[in-house]
Amino acid sequence: MIGVLALQGNFDSHIKILEKINLNHKLVKTIDDLNSLNGLIIPGGESTTITNLLRRNQSLIDGINNLSQHKPILGSCAGLILMSKESNDSRVHNFGFLDIITSRNAYGRQVHSFEASIKVKNDTISSDIQVLFIRAPKVDEVNRSVDILATFKQEIVAVRQGKHIGISCHPELLDETLIHEICFKGKK
């Protein structure tokens, strides 16, 4: 069972991907929803809004921190910012699951959003996938303990640290399953 944090954002497009790769799923809005999960997705959306709702619910923050000790967390866009150790906006919560520094809306406003093909590469996989960058963040710095999972024009757009994966764009909006399969099905 994979949870999708559903405080705000594109949680239903992640649900569609989980269905496509035959993983059970549920929406997560409270700490009780975290019971018996094998992983969690923090979707895209507005990181200030998600932070606002998280901070009214400390038990949910604690529960996600606990879950991260044993289970994989996947964050896309706003989810990547929330998972990073530091971001350029002090109003946004940083769980610190990924030892990286991110900056919000780094490509500019919506008229600068775009569709692109990114290169996913690790020891065994080398694949181009189609994604959307929607008012996307950028990964500015990565610690040595962090693996680079995908790039676009030499820029880092997805990273992996231990079980956890963060991606700055949206494969799920174009029905692309590879990142979810790597994170939750151990695809190699």
């Binding site: 559903a6 405080l7 705000q8 954002g9 594109n10 949680f11 239903d12 497009s13 809005k29 895209g44 959306g45 507005e46 200030t48 809004t49 606002n52 709702l53 009214r56 866009c77 706003a78 906006d89 919000r104 809306n105 500019g108 406003r109 919506q110 008229v111 600068h112 959003s113 775009f114 569709e115 692109a116 959307l132 929607i134 008012r135 949206h170 909006l173 174009l174």
Partner: protein
């Protein structure tokens, strides 16, 4: 790399789901909205209830005021153009607003045609009272549909009517002659077929027009809205910041009556509101555009 694919436009609408988009008329209000957890703000000079009261021609807002808000909040900023006023839309695109609302709240610029939204890079949201209207707007290039409701009324009755109308008309497509429906709706058959098959619109479907309380927001979410717009409801109340927080919470936890109760608990008075029977038919915003 293409910047103007339709999916990129719908992508931003997807990001706004499960949230609250708030009307603001100045920077101070925009900051209150952002701090309260709004996913986006709609920058406009006068909120709908004042447009209704003041009368006169309501136009696109002053770009300077929109720019000031853009420069000082981090969430997406939307702005309204008049129905059919593609030059206002071009200006808003040049200003790089994140979404354009081609809105019945402003005075109509063209009584026969809406803006052709396909050539724009910036996505458009349009209001609809029924499925035909929603599909015509999508066919013109809208990336997001909202109920028209009756803006500035503080009365949820029209938003409920429009949401239920769209939902029931989508269900009716299951047993309908789709080519006849396409003709009736004045849209291409393949669009009607896609909606009939998926049993939902091809773009996200939000609620707007008359939402004033956490309970109103929960009601619209339970009726199938994926996000709510709150216009006059917040800044015409006695406690904008608290009310904004409360409505954000009510939208996230709309299925939990206990949470909506907690959100509603300490609020002061909501905006007064207007009965539909007290608005003459030719003064209803929702009758503008078809």
């Amino acid at each position: 790399m293409t910047k103007d694919t339709f999916k990129v436009k719908v992508g931003l609408a997807e990001m706004l789901k499960g949230g609250v988009i708030m009307d603001v008329t100045n920077l101070e209000q925009a900051k209150i909205a952002e701090d309260a957890g709004a996913v986006s703000v709609m920058a406009l000079e006068r909120i709908p209830s004042d447009i209704r009261k003041d009368g006169g021609v309501a136009r696109m807002s002053n770009p300077h005021m929109i720019k000031e808000i853009q420069d000082n909040v981090s969430i997406p900023v939307m702005a309204k153009c008049r129905i059919g006023h593609f030059a206002e839309a071009q200006i808003l695109e040049a200003l790089e607003v994140d979404f354009i609302d081609e809105s019945e709240v402003l005075t109509m610029a063209d009584e026969y045609a809406h803006v052709d939204k396909h050539p724009f890079k910036v996505p458009f949201v349009c209001g609809a009272r029924n499925l035909g209207e929603a599909l015509r707007r999508i066919n013109e290039g809208a990336a997001l549909i909202r109920t028209k409701g009756e803006a500035g009324s503080g009365n949820i009755v029209e938003a409920v009517r429009h949401m239920k109308m769209i939902t029931s008309q989508i269900i009716e497509l299951q047993d309908a002659d789709l080519s006849k429906k396409a003709e009736e709706f004045r849209v291409p058959l393949d669009l009607v077929e896609e909606v009939a098959q998926n049993q939902k619109l091809t773009v996200p479907n939000f609620a707007a027009g008359g939402i004033a309380t956490p309970a109103d927001a929960s009601l619209m979410m339970q009726l199938g809205a994926e996000t709510v717009f709150v216009g006059s409801g917040i800044f015409k109340s006695d406690d904008p910041s608290e009310r904004a927080h409360a409505i954000v919470k009510a939208v996230t936890h709309f299925k939990s009556a206990k949470d909506v109760l907690t959100a509603s608990y300490d609020l002061k008075d909501a905006m007064k509101g207007i009965l539909m029977s007290d608005i003459p038919e030719d003064e209803k915003f929702s009758n503008r555009g078809d």
